[in-house]
């Protein structure tokens, strides 16, 4: 066994241990902490699977944003935990669930072991057609050109989820400010970091967007990093979330899907098909869509974490 193989086995064992901890931990806070560590370890797995684009997404979304979202919810729901202990299902149900889960896991494991060899792949097709867009990152090619409709519809799903979250506001609070107003010690570590990190984070986010054309990165990863910076500033109390009735905010929210749709329809009117980019201007068009999308993704992810409107005024 080589050192790399040994390290991979240790990583897999560690992930399993953390997964068990996440399910079995008594306190929700501990479970969320386990889940964040789990997400960061999974990012390492993605690197080992030669999927650096996915690793960046996993670290930013699975480890970072999900962690913030779940920690915030766990803190607010702490009072409900003692009561839930009494609702634990009885032994028979637990045994049944264990048998069912073990069967599903065994089925998945068998699926992994019985995958056909040689594996079917579209990698060569993606590599052959890369010249059509002028981008060097095959994953960005797939996301923005070969399967661009998926990405467009996924933007719409994000927007729909946000509409769903906002709709949970009661009538009186509709159009108000999402979530509680965060307060932090203005001289504390959080406020200090919220002043120190965002300039760096914004540069890193824009770099990841720009580099995503030819190297691992892209709109999702850049958007998630920018969202994290925005949330940091909001949680330190340095700025408030804009009210959901803000017209400027709503314009930013539809900018990404809007630009995407306009370019797509342009392909239908002047080209051969919906989202067909003319070869000569494919790269600037894709980068333009990605720039608009990054802004929309950042704001949408931040607002999804901020939650439903809970305040009428900025207090």
């Amino acid at each position: 066994m080589t050192i790399a193989a040994a390290l991979e086995t240790v990583l897999a064992a560690l992930i399993l241990a953390i997964a068990i901890w996440t399910i079995a931990a008594r306190e929700t806070f501990a479970a969320v902490a386990g889940f964040v560590v789990y997400g960061l370890l999974l990012a390492l797995v993605w690197v080992r699977l030669e999927a650096v684009d996915v690793a960046l997404t996993e670290a930013a979304i699975g480890g970072g944003l999900s962690g913030v979202l779940l920690l915030g919810a766990a803190a607010r729901l702490r009072a409900t935990e003692t009561r839930a202990v009494m609702e634990r299902p009885d032994k028979i149900l637990r045994l049944g669930a264990a048998i069912l889960s073990a069967t599903v896991a065994a089925g998945l494991a068998a699926g992994v072991l019985l995958l056909t060899d040689p594996a079917p792949t579209l990698a060569s097709a993606a590599a052959t057609n890369a010249a059509a867009t002028g981008l060097g990152n095959p994953v960005t090619n797939v996301l923005m050109a070969f399967r661009a409709t998926d990405t467009l519809l996924e933007k719409v799903v994000l927007l729909l989820a946000l509409v769903g979250v906002w709709s949970l506001a009661s009538d009186r609070l509709w159009g108000g400010f999402p979530g509680p107003r965060h307060q932090a010690d203005p001289l504390g570590a959080l406020a200090f970091l919220a002043r120190l990190l965002p300039p760096v984070g914004i540069v890193v986010g824009i770099y990841i967007l720009w580099a995503g054309a030819n190297h691992p990165g892209g709109a999702f990863q850049a958007g998630a990093i920018l969202a994290a910076m925005w949330l940091l500033v909001m949680m330190a109390g340095l700025t408030d979330v804009p009210p959901v009735s803000s017209r400027r905010l709503r314009l930013v929210l539809i900018a990404g899907p809007g630009v995407f749709l306009v370019v797509g329809l342009g392909g239908l009117c002047f080209g051969t098909a919906f989202l067909a980019y003319p070869v000569a201007s494919a790269k600037p068009l894709i980068l333009g869509i990605e720039a608009a999308m990054t802004l929309t993704i950042a704001v949408t992810l931040g607002l999804l974490v901020a939650g439903a409107p809970e305040r009428r005024d900025g207090q």
Partner: protein, 113 residues
């Protein structure tokens, strides 16, 4: 055993654990976490399929990778919606129990009064 197989088996077990937690844990927030565990296990299996499809000087097939990136963002938005629903349930009902027979407790939401 290749790295892809090791991680594939690991993620199959993680998905099973997630399913168990989803059924057994009574708290909605813990169910959401368990569901994410289940989902991430399935995502890694996509990664295994992508890795095995390495060809044309690419380390992994880009198509499953792109699907997983899309899937992660959608999973996150679904998680955020679910968390918002649980928080709203807590605001309105004063508890987050999913047990239909549980005695109703006084609501803490001043807006519904």
């Amino acid at each position: 055993m290749s790295a892809a197989t090791v991680f594939g088996l690991c993620s199959a077990a993680a998905a099973g654990l997630g399913l168990y937690g989803l059924i057994v844990n009574p708290e909605p927030l813990r169910k959401i976490i368990a569901f994410n565990l289940l989902g991430s296990g399935i995502f890694i299996i996509f990664g295994v399929v992508a890795r095995r499809g390495a060809a044309a000087a690419l380390g992994a097939d880009p198509v499953p990778q792109a699907l997983v990136i899309t899937g992660m963002v959608v999973a996150f938005s679904a998680t955020a919606l679910a968390v918002a629903l649980v928080l709203r349930l807590f605001q309105g009902a004063g508890s987050t129990t999913l047990d239909a027979d549980a005695p109703a407790s006084a609501g803490t939401d001043p807006t519904d009064a």
